[in-house]
């Protein structure tokens, strides 16, 4: 092959990454073996907080980057991970596509970091998973210890009276088992993968939806690739983006069935309950606009917020 592209992934390989596997297979096939991917999972080429830098400097060719890990670099991209903005994984992706097509600030921040966006991973909606079924109501969540990460989800838990806890992902299972945690808070696919339904058979949700990691290619690598290969990669990226949304819905439904078959109970939130949540939590999109104002980027942020609100209202 002519091009061996190192792809740094922070996640372990698994059925979650099916669409990315398909993307890889399609590019390899269409370039007739001129491109070959060396995908390294579980942070083998760089941990979650290293990959963006590594891709920008050409140390990895492609990276799966979680915007929330780079709150100071990806000022715009991280907005795709704000809770209570998007009604479903599909809407989050729609918002991403809109932003990267119409609001230059999104692409510009990536240019500065010397990476290009290929596509976004949509995350399945988040559910609480814990031993007790009290997560069904906001009242029931009062004082409950919930595992969170990043900056927005802790704020949201804090706002509704739950207690956000920082627990390493690998410790969740035992923490639930021993009561150090009352609830994990992740998508059903992860609840299945980590088997969190064993210590926490009561699932409540969907509580929120957002975009997951972003697959980027380093600018140096991009400049190295001939035009025809770039075209193939972009075409396949677009297909992967479309397919990812359909896939995540199907896959989460499959996981839901699987965990129910293992004895878990899914308590679905009603629209009223979701509205209650929305009301109790602060307007984090507005907070984001405020933060970016402080960094002199308020205009583009406001434009984004307005556009997204309009998009979600339809």
């Amino acid at each position: 092959q002519e091009f061996r592209l190192n792809w740094g992934h922070y996640l372990a390989n698994g059925p979650f990454l099916e669409v990315e596997d398909e993307f890889i297979a399609a590019v390899e096939e269409r370039t007739e073996g001129r491109v070959e991917f060396n995908v390294v999972y579980s942070g083998g080429l760089g941990a979650g907080d290293e990959l963006l830098t590594l891709a920008g400097r050409g140390a990895v060719d492609i990276a799966s980057v979680v915007p929330g890990y780079y709150a100071n670099q990806l000022l715009f991209a991280k907005a795709l991970q704000i809770p209570f903005v998007f009604g479903s994984p599909g809407e989050a992706i729609e918002a991403a596509e809109y932003a990267y097509d119409n609001i230059p600030a999104f692409k510009e921040e990536l240019d500065q970091l010397r990476v290009r966006r290929l596509f976004h991973q949509p995350l399945g909606s988040y559910y609480f998973a814990g031993p007790s079924d009290e997560c069904q109501t906001l009242d029931g969540l009062q004082g409950k210890k919930v595992r969170t990460f990043g900056s927005d989800i802790p704020k949201m838990m804090d706002a509704v009276g739950a207690v956000p806890q920082s627990v390493p992902a690998g410790d969740q299972y035992e923490a639930l088992e021993r009561g150090t945690l009352d609830y994990a808070f992740v998508n059903i696919g992860n609840i299945e993968a980590y088997r969190l339904y064993e210590p926490g058979p009561n699932l409540c949700g969907p509580a929120l939806s957002m975009a997951g990691h972003m697959v980027v290619v380093g600018e140096r690598t991009w400049q190295r690739l001939p035009e025809d290969i770039r075209t193939i990669i972009m075409e396949e990226a677009e297909k992967a983006q479309q397919r990812y949304v359909e896939w995540v819905d199907a896959s989460e439904a499959g996981s839901a069935e699987a965990v129910e078959a293992e004895g878990a109970t899914i308590h679905a939130y009603t629209d009223e309950q979701l509205a209650q949540w929305d009301e109790a939590a602060p307007d984090m999109l507005a907070q984001w606009v405020e933060e970016l104002e402080g960094r002199g980027k308020g205009e583009a942020a406001q434009e984004t917020a307005d556009a997204w609100r309009e998009l979600m209202a339809d």
């Binding site: 709150a71 100071n72 670099q73 900056s151 802790p154 207690v163």
Partner: protein, 169 residues
């Protein structure tokens, strides 16, 4: 001359360790505070982030003083068998390789610190905690270590071939 330089560096290295020790104490109290707070549903915001930063202080704060105390890990097997001249050569290899590695590391860490300053890098959590101090700790800690290694290299040359004590532990 070398002795005087050593007398200047040693207190600085000691200060760096001291800061690391203070960091360690802070992370001990913060961790305990967070555990107790969590029992009453009041976890300490920022405990995790501050602990992470103090880790950097501990690791890089200790580098130079560990060198002074000959605490860095090396395979002593051949060294213990070697005569005075060979020992000097080995010491020179050890100092030089350390200078090259930590020189490159400090250069990169300096760039990272600069970038961190430019973007106002801070942790994201319930509280926002600046990462610049930890970034600077890497540069200063590794930098001080390089200075000590250079001094050791000069001493290696100055005392080439003379028998020297090597203490374990």
């Amino acid at each position: 001359m070398l002795d005087r330089a050593q007398r200047i560096i040693e207190p600085m290295a000691f200060l760096a360790v001291l800061l690391g020790g203070v960091g360690l104490m802070i992370s001990m109290f913060l961790g305990m505070g967070d555990v107790i707070g969590s029992l009453f549903n009041k976890p300490l915001p920022g405990a995790l982030e501050v602990t992470e930063s103090t880790m950097v202080l501990i690791v890089f704060g200790g580098l130079a003083y560990a060198q002074i105390r000959q605490r860095h890990l090396r395979v002593e097997l051949a060294y213990l068998q070697a005569g005075p001249k060979l020992r000097s050569v080995m010491d020179i290899v050890a100092s030089l390789s350390g200078i090259v590695f930590f020189g490159l590391l400090t250069w990169q860490a300096y760039n990272e610190a600069l970038f961190s300053y430019q973007i106002g890098e801070a942790t994201s959590g319930l509280v926002s905690f600046p990462l610049l101090p930890a970034r600077i700790a890497v540069v200063l800690g590794a930098g001080l270590y390089i200075v000590q290694l250079c001094l050791d290299l000069l001493k290696d040359f100055a005392t080439f071939g003379q028998p020297k004590d090597f203490e374990l532990g």
